[in-house]
């Protein structure tokens, strides 16, 4: 099956509104001692295992969000800097990020309809779920600091990406340090990042 054929098929399916399973299916298990089956022969979705083929949910066709001009994305503004970095095995916001967070907290206190999503990350090896919880500690720490500095708690949501979306995939100390990070995303005015 050529890729171009698959893509053509995919676009047609998107237009026609998606696939549903063929209503009539083969019974899953073969029958002992030659007892006749009452199921009618299945259509192509039965597949070659003789058992129901699972259906597919394809999310990759969704549109990405757009962003317009804003001080939040202007490189001359500190508000365009969105990352807070953490030391190894540490989950407290370092003093060097206080002025950056003050700028963001001030923006949010002046724009009460602005919403922020704070995503925490970690560089650890090991359990994906435990790493989700570690990344959450970092995003929680940023959220707490922003609230202390004037942002409203209701404007912010802190979440974690754990170790799932590292910015760097190398193994130097510099790479690890880049991944020990919380990022601030905005929905405000022209900017729609989540």
């Amino acid at each position: 099956m050529r890729l171009s054929t698959i893509l053509a098929a995919a676009s047609i399916i998107a237009v026609l509104g998606g696939c549903s399973s063929t209503p009539t299916q083969e019974g899953g298990a073969p029958v002992q001692e030659a007892k006749p089956s009452t199921a009618t022969p299945g259509g192509p979705t039965t597949g070659t295992t003789g058992r129901e083929t699972p259906n597919t949910v394809d999310l990759t066709k969704q549109q990405p969000s757009a962003t317009g001009p804003s001080e939040l994305t202007d490189p001359r503004s500190p508000l365009s800097r969105r990352s807070v970095y953490f030391d190894f095995d540490k989950y407290e916001v370092k003093d060097e990020f206080r002025s950056l967070l003050q700028a963001h907290a001030t923006y949010m206190s002046r724009n009460r309809t602005a919403r922020m999503l704070i995503q925490g990350n970690c560089d650890e090896r090991g359990s994906r779920e435990y790493n989700l919880a570690l990344g959450q500690r970092r995003s929680d720490a940023v959220k707490r600091t922003l609230a202390l500095l004037g942002a409203s708690d209701a404007q912010m949501e802190s979440v974690s990406l754990g170790k799932e979306k590292p910015r760097r995939t190398g193994h130097t100390e510099e790479d690890f340090a880049e991944n020990r990070r919380a990022d601030m995303l905005y929905n405000s005015g022209n900017v729609k990042e989540f």
Partner: protein, 425 residues
Amino acid sequence: MLKRFILTALCWALSAGIASAQLEIEIVGGGANQVPIGVYPFANESGLSTIVSTIVRADLQRSGRFRLMETGNPVPLPADANQINFGDWRSRAADAVAIGGVSPAANGRYEVWFRLFDVTKQEQLAGVAFTATAAQLRTTAHRIADTIYEKMTGDRGVFSTRIAYVVKHGNRYELQVADADGYGAVAVLISNEPILSPVWSPDGTRIAYVSMQNKKPVVYIQRLDANRQVTLANFRGSNSAPAWTPDGRQLAVVLTRDGGSQIYMINADGSGVRRITNSDAIDTEPTFSPDGQSIYFTSDRGGSPQIYRMPAAGGDAQRLTFEGSYNVSPRISPDGKTLIYVARNDDGQFHVTAMDLAARQTQVLTSTTLDESPSFAPNGKIVLYATEIGGRGTLAAVSIDGRVSQRLTIPASDVREPAWGPFVN
């Protein structure tokens, strides 16, 4: 009518194209005490699209508990006990021999029969006849392998079960479901954002998982026979680590909505959320004991991540791991007697480890060093897990005694987050 046919054909073609890269399974270690067995080619199978005896032999081989012996290709193939040279098989120290055949039946179906014999006693141990369509021949072969496995080992076979796992290829993630031998993989979810923690419902009809498609972790449930996601938990903050109760009606999940990662119970329809842990620490990775009475989980309430057990309704937790500073990802064997988890040793290596819960003795099971996400086969004899070999995400399987191992890979992709499905009834 034509439009419906085209739509159906395109759906099939699309799903076939997405799942074209199949899991490759490589057996790495051998076991002791393998059962020497001969499985003859089945009569009249060679012209069919599915060679039944080949699948039976591959299943038994892959289990690591059988030593497949040469049968040759006698003409004609033995069709009953009288035609088997038991003396010859006994002199070659075989324990058992299997014969079978396929013949056309009514309505385009096939009758598939097989018989299993004890070589020493020259007695039949099993004999079954199936009626199957061409599409069901593969399933039939797995049933035959299950029967042979059960007769010779006393344990239930898992050759008719399915596995789920996540494939990452660049920025594309797929949650795939395949037969336990890697055949027939289909993507049930395709996304540009990470997918993790898939868990099968006890009846095998649904999978719960965590998806970051909304830029945060959200728990979904998806029926395999429907093509839509149903949100189970999307509360403020992160939602993750789903685990089904044995009756399939509720799940434990980890939510950060009240500040900090804590364990909650929720009905399978998303209603009735209630918190069951109450610590200032990270409590995560809940998993139920098979009797539903206890929850095992990971917590760093003692200063480092360790495995704990508490009553299913919550309450006092008992710590179970005391060796090392990093013990995570608890899973319980189907008989409730063995805990497996991932332990990081002093060299920073992560190994799947087994603990006998009665004796509290531990055993490292693997020689791979970046282990994650272990999952028991439903017969409790094999642990499927994720690891990294040569910089690539790979699945691996190890027998519960640590002796037999396999690797499961997909070319040019990272495979991770395996979940072994339940027995099919």
